[in-house]
Amino acid sequence: MNWNSFINPMRMVFSGGPTRFVMPTLAFEIQPHFVAGARLDSSRHVVRRLGMRELEANTVAPLPNGPNIANLENLRLALRGVSEVIGNGGGRLGLLLPDGSVRTAILSFETLPDDPRQVDTLVRWRMKEYLAYPSDEAKVSYQILWRDAGGVGVMVLAAKQSLLAEYTDALGLKNGGPELILPATAALLPLLPDADQLLVHVCSGWVTTTVTAARRLALWRTKAVDGLPDDLANQVGAEVTRVLASCRDHLHVEPEKVWLCARGTGVSPVSGHGQDAHTPELAPILAGLISKEVTPLASEPKWAEALPAAEQTVFQSVGAPFAGLLANAR
């Protein structure tokens, strides 16, 4: 008799095991240019309240290795402002981080062991080449994307534990920490339809591109973009062109649609240059640069129907990841 099928889940329960997605009641997003927060109603699948505060330049610098928060007081001030809007009542707390703070990789394995601890060791070993610090210092979470005769595909998120502690401390929680921590782009994935898609997420000096093929996440790439506002579009266009070429050459996939989610205004955390990255302005420019139709990743209006009118405008600007969290829980 194979006891592993019984022992492994029990071991996962009692030892903590790999952490799985938890639908938060309150969610905060910290980006270099802004802090946003939302109160989510998971039963009705709507955003109840939404708040946003802009951050001063050089408050947060999202890097995978090293301190991210340069000005803790400013960040806490902004978080308090958001909390005043959405309320700080009890419930599960979620935290969305800049993509630049988290390393994300799509790994393929011939096979995976049944024991979660062995999988964790194997994944950490493979993630060494993606991390600029010892993998023991990383908090790792993985999701099996596909499992077939050809092997097993796994999406792996890794963030330095000290870096996660920095963001958690900034929230000023007295008991425990957030029950959900994700890079912001991961929260956008549930909004994509099931087809070969390319998602471009531009936010506060970083661009992340993801490709889904045959309902599988096949590519994830995060890159810092720098320069003047006009140059931002060119840099994003160049990045998307590279990704499209890579899709054709390596994945043999031609994405049916290119989706764009551009958020965040302010100053580039890298250069200090001003940027203006809103989807409606950037989408036609990007379409011209890559010679392909670009569709704004618009949230369904029903997500925001419970919001006050003033907050609906904020939702259109920065609320897409919160809508993604609701879509993932549906």
């Binding site: 009692f14 903590g16 952490t19 988290v102 994700l182 991961a186 309902r215």
Partner: protein
């Protein structure tokens, strides 16, 4: 595409409930410890009591054993052995004196039916006091039925035990008026009952 990843550190049930369970478990542990201590003390006292009793019995046993040895040694002395033989001899004489031939004859006569008569009787004294006296007698009956009645009486008599017929079958006498003769032997225990 649904996601199931999460970089948050979830506390395990062990971590979450450790504090909540700490106080009741400590209390339960303390109660258990007190009960165990109480049981241990009680068991120790019981053990001490039993040990003392066993010790006293061992001393008594040893004392009796020594006494037995002394008595054995005394009995094994030559003069004591002589006394023992003399006592045995006296006991044998007493046994013989208690035995009465008339009484035996009377006991046999009581068992004889009217048509059966005692022809002869012999006694064999026992060598040891514990052994029974053997009585051998020959009876003559007018008929086989009369002898069978005698044998039946003999068997049921409390004065005689271990009854055996010496002759193998019945024998008819040629003399006129004579019947059937039988020779038998039995242990006489009538004098013991007195």
């Amino acid at each position: 595409m649904k996601i199931s990843v999460n970089l948050a550190t979830m506390s395990s049930p062990r971590d979450r409930y450790a504090l909540a369970w700490a106080l009741p478990l400590t209390l339960a542990g303390a109660i258990g410890l007190v009960m165990l201590s109480y049981a241990a003390v009680r068991n120790y006292r019981e053990y001490e009591k039993m040990r003392k009793q066993i010790s006293a019995l061992s001393l008594q046993k040893e004392h009796l054993f020594n006494k037995e040895n002394v008595l054995k040694k005394e009995l094994e002395r030559p003069q004591e052995k002589t006394v023992y033989r003399k006592v045995q001899y006296v006991n044998g004489l007493i046994e013989k004196k208690r035995f009465s031939l008339t009484q035996v004859t009377e006991s046999v006569n009581k068992l004889l039916p009217p048509t059966v008569r005692l022809s002869s009787m012999a006694l064999t004294h026992a060598k040891e006091a514990t052994e029974s006296t053997q009585v051998r007698f020959i009876v003559v009956g007018k008929s086989e039925e009369a002898l069978e009645a005698f044998l039946s009486n003999l068997e049921e008599s409390p004065d005689f035990q271990e009854f055996t017929v010496s002759t193998q079958g019945f024998r008819h006498s040629d003399a006129p008026g004579a019947g059937v003769t039988i020779s038998c032997m039995a242990s006489y225990v009538g004098h013991r009952a007195e």
